[in-house]
Symmetry: C2
Amino acid sequence: MTVRMKDLAKDLNLSVVTISKVLRNHSDISEKTRERVLQRMRELNFRPNLTARALVTGRTSMMGLIVPDLVHPFFGQIAKSLARTLRKKGYGLVISSAEEDIALERHEIEHLIARRVDALVIASGEESGEMLAVLEQQKIPYVLVDRQVAGLQANFVGVDDREVGLLATQHLIQQGCRRVAHLRGPETSPARGRIQGYGQALQRHGLTMRDAYVVAARSSGDRAEECGFEAMQKLLQSRPRPDGVFCFNDPLAVGALKAAQEAGLEVPRDLAVIGCGNMLYADMLRIPLSSIDQDTGSIGENAGKLVLSLVEAAAPPKPRSVLVTPRVVERMSSNRLGR
Amino acid sequence: MTVRMKDLAKDLNLSVVTISKVLRNHSDISEKTRERVLQRMRELNFRPNLTARALVTGRTSMMGLIVPDLVHPFFGQIAKSLARTLRKKGYGLVISSAEEDIALERHEIEHLIARRVDALVIASGEESGEMLAVLEQQKIPYVLVDRQVAGLQANFVGVDDREVGLLATQHLIQQGCRRVAHLRGPETSPARGRIQGYGQALQRHGLTMRDAYVVAARSSGDRAEECGFEAMQKLLQSRPRPDGVFCFNDPLAVGALKAAQEAGLEVPRDLAVIGCGNMLYADMLRIPLSSIDQDTGSIGENAGKLVLSLVEAAAPPKPRSVLVTPRVVERMSSNRLGR
DNA sequence: TTGAAAGCGGTACCAA
DNA sequence: TTGGTACCGCTTTCAA
């Protein structure tokens, strides 16, 4: 059926070994033989069986990627730039969407291990890092993206979340907001970092952090906007009412915008809003949404480079953290200075 | 390092064959032995090497998916539901983003073949179907999604594009439009189908199709909106001016909306707009966008079922086409009746 | 410069 | 019910 090295060998009156060497550009092959072999390979459309190669070399040239949700453009973007970076070095990428389900995430990681991927890139929904212990133990290199796991020193690529919180909050303050609220995300490292930056920004400007101005919201999945809507309603009952809100991500911010408008507030005059993620179409909303750009392309690329360095290293190097720089994208929802 | 069947066998004083049989639930193993083996497997966290298995069985239990662009939520959605369907049957999914580049698409298909995926699901950017000939020849089952290839009878899952065009155009007509224009997409099967439906709808209502009312636009990639913008500007110069426009996809429609507003028209009163794809956030735009929903989840699921049936079939069955039913989602951009 | 032999970690077939 | 042996398609080592 499909042509194998053995077939080529017989066809050309050579040994399988010679074919194999030509294929991998070994030096100890005469130019004449090499040409003859390459020629025939092309003619017969020969493709070496990568599973066979993997079995003997112990390396599949495949990496695995686990994301919580492929539909979220944030992860789509990461997958894309990661795949591109790996492809340049001849690596393939197996992508698994864990659908925000921890049990499934574990299952998928197990599956990828069984497939003998050379390394994993994981945007984990898991809090505990239990699964990661398995990876450590089996000495399978991995890189965490977006979310870190508490108490674990691992290779990580993501945005500097403290900086995100700082930038967003500072931006609102610079726009003249004095009562800045925060719609915080779930208990994960990004949410913790961002709220930390939020606090720092307030402090630097001599503003006090008030508990009533910080409301938690479930930020993921399809219902994120609703959550943002409800959380914002709650926030609007505080007195004095906030005049600015920094939202953990863009879907929450969209919900918040809706709640503000429904309450008869004018954005950004009565309430300035900024989100995070700079999602596609953010500038096409009823009120174009200001946001913090996380440079997902660069996250994917850096994760790729990092994971490549891991598989190519002889001994496992000391875990590294690569932090990508966030950037304010100002649009109408926070523009109170009318510039 | 990692534990193999050989290790288990030695450990339990059994043969490798027995271990293998237990693993695959062979019947001819005593209950006692089976338990003993399973027990030890769990203890040692044994995972069979799937590359080894693939080599001997000739099947990898992996499918490949090629999409033009992973960031496009349309394809993200398909990838997700496809992966879910396959996972239930123990299949993994390798996803490749061809980045709208035909040469790359071919390269990636070659790569997946070399990895010996059991079958492919392809949303191809290729017009000619040249690559597909290779698949046919190598007898690798494949399913086309979203786009068909002209002159090729292949397994296909997608929306009924003629119906899409019909629904969208009819909807505009029902909203009172009499001069319905069309922003058509590139020369692919969906664009052809939709324009056909567009023509049929006009005809059914006794309206004539005017060349000046049909403008082509590059619909993919990051610049889609701009293209929609420009195409709409062109359209608005026709006299009499159209009072409704059916756009090949949502990004084009967004650009069209912008052009209309910039020209001082009021949507939907002066111009009703409907897109296609029902993208996320369509209802959060300045003017919420009416659209045709293509039920991507169902496309992915059906593609999964179809491709599973292919790999499980003894002989290659006759190519089947599965058409998913589109559905109008009415929002403000086309609501001229004020309901 | 070329190739014979020994595996890689499993599965299939058939004998014990 | 259990296991010996050959083999999947390729790479590695070492001898010719």
